[in-house]
Amino acid sequence: MPSNCLSPLILFRFYVILQSSRMMAPNTAQIRLVSSHPEVYEPCADSFLLVDALLADRTNLLEHCPTLCMEVGCGSGYVITSLALMLGQEADGAYYIATDINPHAVRVTHETLEAHGIHADLISTNIASGLEKRLAGLVDVMVVNPPYVPTPEDEVGLDGIAAAWAGGENGRSVIDKMLPVCDKLLSKRGWLYMVTLTANNPSEICRQMRDRGYASRIILQRSTEEENLLVMKFWRDSESQLENSQIGVGNKNVPARLIDYLLSQVSTLPFLRHGNSDND
């Protein structure tokens, strides 16, 4: 559909259809369908922030066409389910994997995924243990909401729900174990989204990741009474030119980006999903 045949009126109609279709086809997990268990971390401000950050980056994610997406620490399944919903599981042919060290969490995630009609392959394991050799360099999108709360070291890695938040000194114990694993698993065009607190010293995390060849930026941040939360995005440095060009400055970029955005949403419209014989 060449962009020069789209009049403002058609654009406006697209926009209206888009908004109403979004109400019909949710692009995040619904809380009432998220399963729970006493030993499993329920979606909280940090989970919502991560999903909001992914939504904010959704256009980039859709353009990126990830083949393999992975969540480490899936908890209730809220995030992996939302990621699969917002990328549209069927349309993009992406494969979803999620892990959690808490077997209850993995089971709860399974229930949450099923309730939303989404499939992801789940593994009970410590970070990505068992996957590291074969999955190295294959993951295009990783999302992590790690245990980031500063706690005494002896609270880290205990069984049960505390594993969801206990992060040891500066809340970095588990994050520092996860970062090299993420680096190993991420593909050349891999993107990592991670939730951190300012108490985790995120600029030092960015320095560490820069040494591994990653650029970074804050996608979203939120201050609550207790915490100052950030969602960081990391990507391999050779892509930094591409990333900058998507930010778009100056008025002349705006209409082109709007058209691109609307066109990218067309395939997500429910009534256009089937019978697309002219789509390749």
Binding site: I101, H110, D121, S124, T125, G130, K133
Partner: protein
């Protein structure tokens, strides 16, 4: 657990050098239909360990994959459909994955493999 995931899993027990592939003991296998996506298959093909996939499919009751495969076969719709079925539509719901070196069994329940190690295996 689908066979793409199985193709990515290896034994994580300390000291094990030949941990791949994990042998499958299948107790319950389920087939779930997934939309055919040739691009996805062509993307994944170079990353697969073919023999492990063919053997795994056989242990789930699907013997239609050739013993060996090369990229030229991706032009064949018939081949792609068999690959699609084996990789994405067969689910191991109940059973175990067995470390080829130690014989240790990693249980699979409700389609979820448990790769958590005991203290002495880490």
């Amino acid at each position: 657990m689908r066979l793409l995931t199985h193709n990515m899993l290896s034994s994580n027990i300390k000291g094990v050098t030949n941990g791949f592939p994990l042998r499958i003991e299948a107790e319950k296998v389920v087939e779930k239909q997934v939309d055919f996506n040739p691009d996805f298959l062509k993307n994944m093909f170079p990353k697969l360990e073919w023999k492990a996939l063919a053997d795994a499919a056989r242990s789930l009751g699907y013997g239609e994959l050739p013993d060996a495969a090369d990229a030229s076969m991706l032009d064949s719709d018939d081949f792609l459909r068999r690959l699609h079925h084996a990789l994405l539509e067969l689910h191991l719901e109940e059973g175990a994955l067995v470390c080829p070196e130690t014989g240790r069994k990693f249980p699979v329940n409700k389609g979820i493999p448990n790769m958590l190690l005991h203290e002495d295996e880490v």
